[in-house]
């Protein structure tokens, strides 16, 4: 039986990264095009294309992860 996805490079195995997971759920799979209407705080917002919100979240995550790595490196240098 298939096990959970893992990440392997140069023989080293780790858990698959958050970005890999998000890449899969956001960019792979069946697409149903259309528009949806969401109400937030009583205001109707129309999203054309269902990836608008999460594309920007993904970009933000990339920046967050880069910042996290830099933070770790600078802590290690102290």
């Amino acid at each position: 039986m298939a096990t959970d996805p893992i990440f392997v490079s140069a023989g080293k195995e780790t858990d698959v990264s958050l970005l890999d997971i998000l890449d899969h759920v956001l960019n792979a799979g069946v697409v149903i095009h259309g528009s949806i209407v969401i109400s937030l705080a009583g205001v109707d917002l129309v999203y054309i294309g269902l990836n608008v919100v999460l594309t920007s979240v993904e970009t933000a995550l990339r920046h967050l992860e880069a910042g996290h790595r830099l933070g770790k490196e600078s802590r290690g240098n102290r």
């Binding site: 298939a2 893992i6 490079s9 140069a10 698959v16 997971i21 792979a28 799979g29 920007s56 979240v57």
Partner: protein, 191 residues
């Protein structure tokens, strides 16, 4: 086995139509919890995928009602059933080939083209090494160029996934190409 709850602990619901089972939950997209919602969505897929071939929808896919979902299933029943039959015993393994940063400052067009050529050659060599290492158990390959290299998708039988990881995961190259393997994933590239 399908879990009982899905995104934000909403009950995981199920509908059967035309020999297909579709899982869904009631959901209102929110930018504030988008990441957690996407991970919860992934976890549901992962749980079901452990025991069966699945065709996931992209996240988020929001329909107005169960009736709309049923309508969609009826419309695409043959396509989905055929794909699930084909993929019943298969999973998708992925190999990312990532080129290191370009070294030269490319003072001339010729130097730039020469470096580009060398990088393309290194990528082709890595691709060849991956396919050789993966062996004949790969039923089908698909490829996609990326900004910094290439993504390779291999369709393999479930019980070959571990061997694929073992063989390809230990590869290294002399050139500046990093090789990373992930999987198994649902075979979305082969639907």
């Amino acid at each position: 086995m399908a879990p009982e709850t899905a995104i934000r602990n909403a009950p995981l619901l199920e509908v059967e139509e035309e020999g297909l089972r579709a899982f869904y939950s009631e959901y209102v997209p929110s930018a504030n919890s988008a990441r957690e919602d996407a991970l919860a969505f992934f976890n549901v897929n992962r749980a079901i995928f452990r025991d069966a071939a699945i065709i996931p929808f992209r996240f988020p896919t929001v329909l107005q009602s169960e009736d709309e979902l049923v309508e969609h299933l009826i419309e695409h029943a043959t396509q989905y059933a055929t794909a699930l039959q084909k993929l019943a015993d298969y999973v998708q393994m992925e190999v990312r080939l990532v080129l290191g940063e370009a070294k030269s400052s490319a003072e001339s067009g010729t130097a730039y083209m020469k470096e580009k050529q060398q990088r393309a050659k290194a990528l082709a060599a890595a691709d060849s090494a991956v396919r050789k290492a993966a062996g004949p158990e790969v039923t089908e390959w698909k490829f996609r160029e990326t900004r910094d290299g290439m993504r390779c998708f291999a369709l393999v039988e479930r019980n070959h996934a571990a061997a694929f990881v073992q063989r390809v995961g230990k590869l290294t190259t002399k050139d500046d190409v990093k090789i990373a393997v992930t999987g198994p994933w649902p075979a979305t590239e082969f639907v």
